[in-house]
């Protein structure tokens, strides 16, 4: 088609009354491909026209001039009626191809009015036709698209109030395409409830020369109610006066219904719901969320979700959020951790959050169900507190119980035995026949009473110790206490040649009861000497240490040792002895334990028979 691109080329072809071509200009040569020599004087116009178009042309003329037959020469008929004809023709070129042309046929006349053939002027309108066809097609596509998207478009000439609707807009409004549209047609369908809003908005759009988008209900003749969304643009002339408003109108009933359903669901959720987009901006919240955080939806819309978090979480949260959007799935947030939100007034709220991805046309949204767990937290704290004080009480009771059990044990074993002896002796005494016998029995009485007295004294002392806990606490030097102990035991030390060494550098002093500490030193050091190994010189080493802030003191000896497998449980019991030693009474370790425990500490022992023992005192903090 390249040679025909120039639309200015016009073919002029003249014919005689017999339709023989008499003139054929260069334009004709270019457009049709024939040279004038090939055409002039020999060919007729049917050489480059299609037969059926000639037939059509004739039928048209027959209709125009009410002729009963089509057996006539159309050019003569035109000449007779002094008329011309302009229409589209398909022109057959020399090479057999065709093009669409606009062609005018004008009869020629001599001055006497006699017919002298006609002139045909041909313009190639292939391109024009193509544009036209394209436009038509596009219109069709647009129409189709509008149907699919339930959309229409409209134009309002604000000067003439002339209104134009696209064909689908008629469908949306269920209006017959032939109906004459006026400015009020649209307004007549606006739902009564929305009329005021819509009119006000339109007036404001005209005034501000900016179209305010509208979303409202329409009520159709059939009674059907739809929700439509109007988007538009205000067109002004060069003076800035409004001349036209154009825009679209979409039937969004279904989307809105879905949205309404979704919102309904959101509102009915028992938890506060916060919906966030990929950028972490809040898109939607429900009433519960408004209540929980104290913000209205307007205050939160498009705000970063971190607004609802205490400052200390903000940095970490942004990272977590990005990670979540990479692999979105339903899960709890911060599993196992304590989470807090912050409300408008800066109050922190303990919360539990479940996250769930929501795929929408705007991308992935995340819905966060936020549950206020203040109440649970409070209940939990109360339970923990109660548990704590119960544990404390249990500890105290356990100690008291142990002390009571100790006391019961002492009463049962250490007091009943001498009393039952006294009873037995008393019976013998009654039955005794000789004075000698009575004297002997009386000696036994004395021995039992002596034993009973000493047991009672020990018990009274132990009870006193348990009662007098934190009295007379003072700063004591281990070194000083040890030298006093050595003084008291100087007799035994000299007799046994005992070596006593010490290292108190780790903790040279302690806040303690002087009487008890002296007693503890005296008991443990004298025991170490008393139960020395027969073939060894007693060696005693006393060391002060600190472990986890707790002071410790250990007494190590190289003496007889104690069979702990056999005696472990009762080593600190009253009147428990483990060696056949004349001075073994089982009081020293008993009193030591009572004193250490009264001060809140503990005493333990490690021992190996014939190797020695280590007594370790763990003082209270």
């Amino acid at each position: 088609m390249s040679p025909n691109v120039n639309a200015e080329i016009i073919a002029v072809i003249a014919t005689t009354n017999d339709d023989i071509i008499s003139q054929f200009n260069s334009g004709a040569h270019t457009l049709l491909g024939y040279s004038p020599d090939e055409m002039v004087g020999s060919k007729k116009s049917d050489s480059f026209l299609l037969k059926e178009e000639i037939e059509n042309f004739k039928r048209d003329l027959a209709a125009r001039y009410q002729l009963k037959t089509i057996d006539f020469d159309p050019y003569k008929i035109l000449a007779e009626h002094d008329a011309n004809d302009a229409r589209e023709w398909t022109i057959l070129k020399k090479d057999g191809s065709t093009f669409i042309a606009h062609s005018t046929i004008t009869p020629m006349k001599y001055e006497n009015g006699k017919s002298n053939g006609y002139i045909r002027i041909i313009r190639d309108i292939t391109d024009q036709k193509k544009v036209e066809r394209d436009l038509l097609r596009k219109n069709e596509v647009l129409n189709h698209a509008e149907k699919i998207t339930l959309m229409g478009h409209w134009q309002l000439d604000t000067i003439t109030d002339n209104v134009k609707w696209s064909s689908n807009l008629y469908n949306i409004f269920e209006v017959h395409p032939d109906e004459v549209l006026t400015y009020d047609t649209y307004f007549s369908y606006v739902h009564p409830g929305d009329k005021e809003t819509v009119s006000t908005s339109f007036e404001k759009s005209k005034q501000d020369k900016h179209f305010y988008d509208l979303l409202h209900h329409i009520k159709l003749d059939s009674g059907k109610i739809k929700i439509i969304q109007l988007l538009g643009e205000v067109i002004t002339d060069e003076k800035g006066d409004v001349i036209e408003i154009i825009g679209t109108c979409q039937d969004v009933t279904q989307q809105r219904m879905a949205e309404i359903k979704f919102k309904g669901l959101l509102e009915s959720a028992p938890d506060a719901m916060v919906i966030v987009n990929e950028k972490g901006k809040i898109q939607l919240i429900n009433k519960q969320a408004e209540k929980l955080f104290g913000y209205s939806i307007g205050e939160l819309l498009d705000q970063p979700v971190e607004l609802l978090l205490p400052e200390r979480y903000i940095n970490a949260h942004a990272n977590h959020r990005e990670l979540y959007f990479n692999i979105p799935k339903t899960r709890k947030m911060g599993e196992g951790k304590e989470l807090f939100g912050i409300d408008k007034h800066g109050r922190e709220i303990p919360i539990q959050i479940s996250l769930s991805p929501l795929k929408t046309e705007e991308g992935v949204l995340v819905s966060a169900a936020v549950r206020d767990i203040t109440f649970q937290k409070r209940a939990e704290k109360r339970i923990i507190d109660a548990k704590g004080s119960l544990e404390l009480l249990t500890d105290k009771l356990t100690i008291k119980n142990t002390q009571l059990a100790d006391f019961a044990h002492i009463t049962s074993h250490n007091l009943r035995a001498p009393v039952s002896n006294l009873n037995s002796l008393l019976e013998f005494y009654k039955d005794a026949e000789t004075t000698l016998e009575k004297v002997q029995l009386f000696e036994k009485f004395e021995s039992v009473i002596h034993h009973l007295t000493s047991t009672l004294n020990t018990l009274v002392e132990a009870l006193k110790t348990k009662d007098e806990t934190s009295k007379n606490i003072e700063l004591l030097s281990f070194e000083e206490i040890l030298s006093k102990t050595k003084e008291i035991l100087s007799g035994q030390i000299i007799a046994t040649n005992a070596k006593i060494s010490s290292d108190f550098t780790a903790a040279p002093t302690i806040m303690y009861s002087k009487v008890y500490l002296e007693s503890i030193f005296l008991n443990l050091v004298s025991n170490a000497i008393k139960y020395k190994a027969e073939d060894k010189t007693p060696e005693i080493f006393i060391k002060a240490t600190v472990e986890n802030g707790v002071q410790k003191l250990s007494f190590k000896d190289n003496g007889l040792g104690i069979n702990l497998v056999r005696h472990g449980k009762k080593i600190f019991g009253l009147n428990k002895v483990f060696h056949r030693h004349p001075d073994a009474k089982g009081v020293g370790l008993f009193m030591t334990k009572v004193q250490v425990e009264a001060m809140g500490g503990k005493i333990t022992v490690e021992s190996e028979v014939n190797e020695g023992s280590i007594f370790t005192i763990k003082f209270n903090k």
Partner: protein, 139 residues
Amino acid sequence: MIKNFNFCIVDDDDIYQFTVIKTIKALNLAKKIIAFSDGEEALDFMIKNLHKDEELPDVILLDINMPIMDGFQFMEEYIKIKPKLGKKITIYMVSSSVDTVDIERAKKISEISDYIIKPIKKGELKSIVDKLIDEGNED
């Protein structure tokens, strides 16, 4: 009363030893009375006389609380040597303890015939001997 039986008293309380021995003698219940002040001494004696039936006791009155080796520890060791003993020995646990823990523990040991709370009475000593005679007749 037939003085057929050897009595053995294991107790660290010498006053108790004195009173029981005196009572047994007064009632003329025993052929022989031996006394030890702790479990270990008694055990050593038994091990030395495993097959000497005339030395071994017929009845042991065993205290619980004793130094070196107490009554329960003695029972543990006694159970070990029992199969080697040629003689049937009846053991009574005799203690001043009224502690149920001690009483229950003693009852669980099948080798202990009974638990007697101190002071032991004349009637109790007599019935111990009566039982021994009955059992002897059954055999």
